[in-house]
Symmetry: C2
Subunit: 194 residues, 2 copies
């Protein structure tokens, strides 16, 4: 494998390990040493790929974002309406739950860090634009006249996703799949449950 690809491959492998440690033991357990031990490398090897714990977290955050985007694109390629496509972001699979946990941990770290905050701000805006395109595409495919405010729908979807994911992370029994889907559906303006 060419060196550049191998470099990126190795970084992704380490990012995956970071995500796993975050889920099972928390961010405090993520150290260059613990990541190296889990990967079966020396700390020198890990340090070659990442300068610090902050670097490890930042890259793991971006990988979680890339994986979620891939899931969204795969779901969109299968067709269906915006609700069905966006459901792949709900924390109903171990993969989706892990990505959300990496993000939530990142929020705590990013709040007082201007560079990480700017990254998070940009990611929220990108996510909303992605949702807008999905929703607009779904309306076009259904032959619905675009009278709905797609931007507001996308903003509501992101707001509800964050709110339900944080609660479901601590109280999964209280957020069964049908409730998560109902909230997403309502955010899309598809149903009002009262």
């Amino acid at each position: 494998m060419p060196a550049i690809i191998d470099h990126e491959h190795r970084r992704r492998e380490l990012a995956q390990i970071v995500a796993d440690i975050i889920v099972t033991s928390g961010l405090n357990a993520v150290t260059v040493r613990s990541v190296a031990a889990a990967a079966g490398f020396s700390t020198a090897v890990v340090s070659h790929y990442f300068q610090s714990k902050r670097d490890l977290l930042f890259y793991s955050y971006r990988r979680a974002e890339a994986r979620a985007t891939e899931r969204l694109q795969a779901a969109a390629a299968q067709g269906g309406d915006a609700l069905r496509i966006l459901e792949c972001l709900l924390p109903l699979t171990p993969e989706a739950r892990r990505d959300w946990m990496v993000w939530a941990v990142f929020w705590g770290e990013a709040l007082a860090d201007p560079e990480l905050s700017a990254e998070q701000r940009s990611q929220f805006r990108k996510a909303r634009r992605r949702f807008e395109r999905l929703i607009a595409g779904s309306l076009r495919a259904a032959g619905t006249r675009r009278t709905r405010r797609v931007q507001e729908d996308a903003r509501r979807v992101l707001t509800v996703l964050i709110g339900l994911v944080v609660q479901a992370a601590f109280d999964p029994e209280d957020w069964p799949a049908h409730r998560q889907r109902a909230y997403l559906s309502e955010a899309l303006g598809l149903a009002r449950r009262d």
Copy 2:
């Protein structure tokens, strides 16, 4: 001051310092040493009140919760409908923003910590019950027949609050006061903006 009251007073003082450090420098900057330095105490004094950084964070989290409850009770005592009362929880003042930041940082720490997770789960449930009572009281005061599903309203309010607070923390310009209020209003089922 009697010793027990003084003990609690000192703990609150230190919790306030922890919250300030979290807001300005992040959780990484919270150490027994940095808290002692900011308080003008020796680390031995801080260690007398808190056994660890985790203890400091846990107590600061509970204090943020207690302050928010006090704000909610003060707002409720002034009367008005549920929307007006719940607005005191929106991150529109430095105090409310600080409390939410302490919570968001706590989420990141609590996710992989069973004891802290249980505390967070319990707090979310308590918050919802508090919202339910507020909403029910507001409907009674307005002479509205209780046909609305108060439990669902309370759940939607908490979901929207968490979702908007996380976004507003990173992108305050994108979440001006009128938008935050509109989202809270919609969560209460008072308005649908499209």
